[in-house]
């Protein structure tokens, strides 16, 4: 375990760095009077999770399951419809923790390394922007930018004056990481941060992220659809399905003994390195249902091979121990699922 800075660690080591309670975001509601359709996309629908200090929480799920929306909600780039975000025990925007001070402590690295850099700014200006906005002098901000470039493995003398289109994707993503670190955050959200990179470059950036985590005492939220990468990076993993948490637990426990059939299906879709363990058939058929009209009951029942009548009516809640919980009737001995009796 890494040492936490006692000055900044206000809540103590036991308090989770981030605690999210019943976070909800529906898109398309209360649109202007000119809007034609009133369809509501339940992008994030009552999500609870915590991120412990110094850990990496991996978030996995198919496209459209609400991973990125969750990240943007935590970043406060978009406002939640309901729910609470506690950072180190304090409510964001409350008396003890202003939004500005929260924003310094939570930063994000985006998936598209090119779109997330201003094409008109040099690398050093991009990194120095945040510190300058928080009152650091221009010279000191540039000096910090050079220092950070060095730390993310880019030689300042060569890269500081370059523009984003003049450097490679891996280098750009290193710049994005440096930009995120420039405000000395405590929580770094990595939203598919390595997904667009070549495998060899991806490995380099992942190792860089692990080194930086130790060096700066960071906590990560690592969002990805690549299960191998998530397993490599994460201490705990959260599986999302259609805007809800399907399962959350320690990385080893979740990958070895998945409780939710959806997690099990995801894991069996992982390409294996062992030629004897071939993936024989697609474990999951079809696309996830439309989040505009999610299925009633358990949202996964339309694709679940253990689905019973119960699953179409009653919505399962997250149950299980503190370390490993799943939202499945099969994981709850009291649910009355027919397979439990057998």
């Amino acid at each position: 375990m890494i040492a936490l800075d006692p000055d900044r660690d206000r809540g103590g080591p036991g308090t989770p760095l981030l605690a999210v309670q019943s976070l909800t975001k529906h898109f398309g509601r209360k649109a202007s009077v000119f809007a034609r359709n009133n369809a509501v996309v339940r992008a994030v629908d009552g999500v609870d999770f915590t991120v412990r200090k110094g850990e990496t929480l991996g978030i996995v799920g198919e496209s459209g399951c609400g991973k990125s929306t969750t990240a943007r909600l935590v970043m406060q780039i978009i406002k939640p419809d309901a729910g609470e975000i506690l950072f180190d025990g304090e409510a964001v925007g409350g008396r003890a923790l202003s939004l500005a001070s929260y924003r310094r402590q939570v930063q994000m690295v985006f998936q598209d390394s090119y779109a997330s850099l201003n094409p008109r700014l040099t690398v050093e200006d991009t990194i120095a922007f945040g510190p300058k906005a928080h009152g650091l002098g221009a010279k000191a901000a540039i000096a910090r930018a050079h220092d950070l470039l060095h730390r993310v493995g880019l030689e300042p003398a060569r890269f500081a004056g370059r523009y984003p289109h003049e450097i490679s994707g891996g280098q750009r993503q290193r710049v994005n990481i440096a930009r995120a670190l420039a405000l000395e955050p405590r929580l770094l959200i990595l939203d598919e941060a390595v997904s667009a990179l070549d495998k060899s470059v991806e490995a380099q950036v992942l190792n860089l992220l692990l080194d930086l985590k130790d060096e700066f005492g960071l906590t990560y939220m690592f969002i990805s659809h690549d299960l191998n990468v998530v397993r490599f990076m994460s201490d705990r993993v959260m599986v999302m399905y259609l805007g809800k948490v399907a399962e959350i637990g320690g990385s080893d426990s979740l990958f070895e003994k998945p409780l939710h059939p959806y997690t099990a299906a995801l894991l069996s879709s992982m390409p294996s390195m062992d030629p004897d363990k071939r993936t024989e058939e697609a474990p999951l058929a079809g696309d996830p249902p439309n989040p505009i009209n999610p299925p009633p009951g358990c949202r996964f029942h339309t694709r679940c091979r253990f689905a019973a009548t119960l699953c179409a009516h009653a919505e399962p809640v997250l149950t299980g121990g503190d370390d490993h919980r799943a939202a499945c009737h099969l994981a709850d001995p009291q649910s009355g699922h027919p397979r439990l009796a057998a």
């Binding site: 202007s32 939004l99 994000m108 779109a115 040099t122 945040g130 906005a133 060569r158 004056g161």
Partner: protein, 294 residues
């Protein structure tokens, strides 16, 4: 001046040309844009240096040598209906015509960009209110709107500038709003907002640099429209008053000579055409030079 002697440091050696430098280089390689620019430079220089360039006094009239043809001794481009030297009047006329072409667009560029960038960046309901208000102005054809405003305000250069500015503000604001709305949703703007910087800093550093270029290109294409509208106002007697030389007004006063000296009467129109098409070609070249994979 002392900087020229400074040795280039190795760090600067790897520094790359900025965006505008590369746009400039691409523009220099565009023959059409450069040709248009050359024509514009000649016209502007002639207008600015009119007292030295013009062969005669543009106000000096002679009743004996009225409406002389092009090439008449002492009158290289003939004379107008009051016997004034056409060449000198065309050179002096460029002063007011260019002024009326550039100033309203410049004012509208500042005001319209301000409105459009504000509406685009703030978004939501405020954007809807601002842009629908702007849309009201689009209900009137621009010529009609300019004439109506000038008519209400009265004749004169200042009033013409005001009415032309009012005509162009909505058009520029609309372009500014749409470009800003696009830029606002880019990841780098989100990242800048997430850094906790205030809105002004985000707009100044991340939005303006990506938005002003396209708006500027659009504005340069309006200069020719402004010149034609201003000439139109002068032609109708709502802009510049005689005996001031101005291309639109000259076209008006020479229209009676269209049968006796058609070539001389067409000269001011030719100047308007030449200048406006040069502005258009140059702004086209500028747009092409700016459309690069960044």
């Amino acid at each position: 001046m002392a900087m020229a002697a400074t040795e280039t440091l190795p760090i600067e050696a790897s520094a790359s040309p900025g965006y505008w430098q590369s746009v400039g280089r691409r523009l220099l390689r565009d023959p059409v844009a450069m040709g248009a620019l050359a024509v514009l430079v000649i016209i502007v220089l002639a207008a600015v240096l009119a007292p030295w360039v013009a062969p005669a006094d543009p106000y000096k009239a002679t009743m004996v040598r009225r409406l002389r043809p092009i090439g008449y001794p002492g009158y290289p481009l003939g004379s107008d209906e009051l016997g004034r030297d056409m060449l000198s009047r065309l050179i002096y006329g460029g002063r007011l015509s260019l002024f009326m072409g550039v100033v309203p667009v410049l004012l509208a560029f500042v005001i319209g960009s301000g409105i459009g960038i504000f509406a685009g960046y703030v978004g939501g309901r405020i954007n809807t209110v601002v842009m629908r208000t702007i849309d009201v102005f689009f209900a009137f054809p621009s010529v009609l709107l300019a004439i109506a405003l000038s008519g209400v305000l009265g004749a004169g250069i200042i009033n013409s500038i005001v009415s032309l500015t009012v005509v162009f503000v909505p058009q520029i604001a609309r372009v500014a709003e749409s470009v800003t709305t696009q830029v606002r949703s880019r990841d780098y703007v989100e990242a800048a907002r997430a850094s906790g910087a205030n809105a002004l800093a985000v707009v100044r550093v991340h939005v303006l640099g990506n938005v002003l270029g396209p708006i500027f290109v659009y504005a340069t294409s309006l200069i020719s429209v402004s010149m034609i509208l201003a000439s139109g106002l002068s032609f109708l007697g709502l802009g510049v008053k005689p005996p001031e030389p101005e291309w639109g007004l000259m076209l008006n006063t020479l229209r009676t000579a269209i049968y006796s000296q058609p070539l001389v009467a067409a000269l001011p129109g030719l100047m308007i055409f030449l200048t406006s098409i040069s502005f258009n070609l140059f702004s086209d070249g500028l747009r092409t030079a700016m459309e690069v994979k960044q």
